[in-house]
């Protein structure tokens, strides 16, 4: 298991889902994939398939309609997995907190490992969030000493 985790850490696959974000954080997530920030140098690539993904990057808050989608995506991802919530919307609902159709941050529905602050979160911050999440992912699944 230990050596397997090493591989995942070297090449995590990312699934990106847009909750009810304003797009601001979304395009910054996409910007991370493109040449200037190039998250691929950490081995990460974007995938559209939750079954292939190790990390879930989620932007925006949850509402009536997407709550089941978020849950479903999370459940479809194989273990070990980690969730990075991007932007203040994903953390608390942010500027839209008082809207009638916003139920709050992503943390209400699925366990979140790393919160990336910012409105919009900057690509540097997103990349740091991903790196931190990877560390968590590794720690989470290394076999315990006493086991």
């Amino acid at each position: 298991m230990v050596f397997k985790m090493k591989f995942i850490k070297k090449s995590p696959w990312i699934l990106h889902y847009d909750g009810s974000s304003c797009n601001g954080c979304d395009i910054e997530v996409l910007a991370c994939l493109t040449p200037l920030y190039d998250i691929e140098r950490f081995g990460a690539i974007n995938t559209g398939n939750p079954k292939h993904a190790d990390l879930l990057l989620i932007t925006g808050s949850v509402n009536e309609q997407n709550i089941s989608v978020v849950k479903q995506l999370y459940e479809q991802m194989p273990n070990p997995k980690a969730v990075v919530a991007i932007g203040v919307c994903a953390a608390t609902g942010g500027i839209f907190k008082d809207c009638y159709n916003v139920q709050g941050g992503v943390g209400e529905v699925i366990p979140v490992d790393i919160y990336v602050p910012g409105c919009a979160a900057r690509p540097e911050a997103i990349i740091e969030g991903v790196v931190l999440a990877l560390n968590k992912l590794e720690r989470r699944k290394s076999p315990r000493k006493d086991a």
Partner: protein
């Protein structure tokens, strides 16, 4: 004739950066009908006018959509300014135009990238986004933000662009223009791209008119429409062409958007040359708004309408946005009918959908 099958498309789909769901009714490979279901991004932010005062609300308006963020703030401000009979200083109008056109360039480049991605041309996607980063750097330099600037406020703008930075903007744009030329030749002359785009998703002029398409979608079908000709902001002082095409297919829409980037560059150049050198960039806001107003402006995706109704208190009665993607959805459903399943992602993309502003 085959059996009818329903294929769900979205809400989470690789070509879609945003969630929208379509149920595609198929017969063999042909789409018979597309039934959209929306609401994944609905937040209900129009109602927020009752909780945030009219000045604070500018921040919310900017976050209707992160791609044309500046223009949303601008549209909202224009509506409130008109109700309050505030005259925006000339310099501020020019600055707004510059930022608005920069937003148009960044949005169109983003779209070109996504289009390339949707037809599987990954390196082209990367190139478009690489070029777009240069525009974002300009935003970063002039406003401090990359996607959301909060630089527009009621009565004017918050930040000035000094001579030196204006020069830098023009320099960067000159650079981009050259790069764009080579990109254009790929988009418009490459056989594989042509093959994927031309003749696909034809929207006739009559349909475009009848279904109320706006922006590049309408212009690519031969309708001459551009809200900028109404002469808001600094647009009366600059010359620009309205780009149209006749074919109405995906290729025409690509062509129109590419040409529009060149137009936007020329508008910014003219603005940089004509900008008045006074120091006033914002008129102070006195009193409270009372009355109603429709503001219209041209976003990268087409015409947006802002309706604001104020009752003389800090909180507005009503704020309503009619966004371009919303206006283009009926046209999209029309073009989807009879298309091939494999073309659906490209078709959905060519209206340049912005779901987050459609659903608000």
């Amino acid at each position: 004739m085959g059996k009818r099958t329903i294929v769900p498309f979205g809400p989470q789909h690789p070509v879609l950066p945003e969630p929208i769901h379509l149920d595609l009714a198929l017969e063999d490979e042909t789409v018979i009908e597309a039934i959209p279901s929306i609401g994944f991004v609905h937040r209900g932010l129009e109602k927020l006018v009752e909780k945030k005062d009219f000045q604070e609300y500018t921040y919310v308006a900017e976050r209707i959509c992160g791609i044309c963020s500046f223009m949303h703030g601008m549209g909202y401000c224009m509506a409130v300014e008109n109700i309050m009979s505030l005259t925006v200083p000339d310099r501020a109008e020019f600055l707004r135009t510059i930022w608005a056109e920069l937003s148009r360039i960044h949005s169109h480049l983003l779209w070109l990238g996504l289009l390339a991605d949707s037809i599987g041309f990954e390196s082209l996607f990367m190139h478009c986004w690489r070029m777009r980063e240069q525009i974002l750097d300009l935003f970063d330099m002039t406003t401090g933000g990359r996607v959301i600037f909060s630089v527009c406020k009621i009565g004017g703008v918050r930040k000035d662009i000094d001579e030196e930075k204006l020069k830098r903007i023009v320099d960067v744009l000159n650079n981009i223009e050259d790069e764009l030329r080579s990109l254009t030749s790929v988009f418009l002359e490459e056989q594989s791209i042509k093959g994927r785009l031309s003749g696909v998703g034809v929207l006739s002029q009559a349909d475009a008119f009848g279904l109320g398409a706006v922006g590049p979608m309408a212009r690519a079908s031969g309708i001459v429409t551009d809200t900028r000709t109404l002469g808001y902001s600094a647009y009366p002082h600059v010359k620009f062409n309205i780009i149209t095409a006749q074919e109405g297919d995906c290729f025409a829409r690509t062509k129109v958007r590419i040409e529009e980037i060149f137009e936007a560059i020329s508008i910014i150049r003219q603005c940089a040359a004509l900008i008045p050198s006074d120091t006033l960039i914002a008129e102070p806001v006195k009193g409270l708004p009372k009355g109603e107003y429709f503001a219209r402006l041209e976003q990268p995706r087409g015409e947006v309408i802002y309706y604001v109704k104020a009752n003389g208190t800090k909180f507005l009665d009503r704020m309503r946005v009619r966004t371009p993607t919303f206006a283009n959805l009926p046209a999209l459903l029309q073009t989807l009918k009879g298309s091939e399943l494999a073309d659906v992602p490209v078709l959905v993309l060519t209206i340049d959908p912005c779901i987050s502003c459609t659903e608000r």
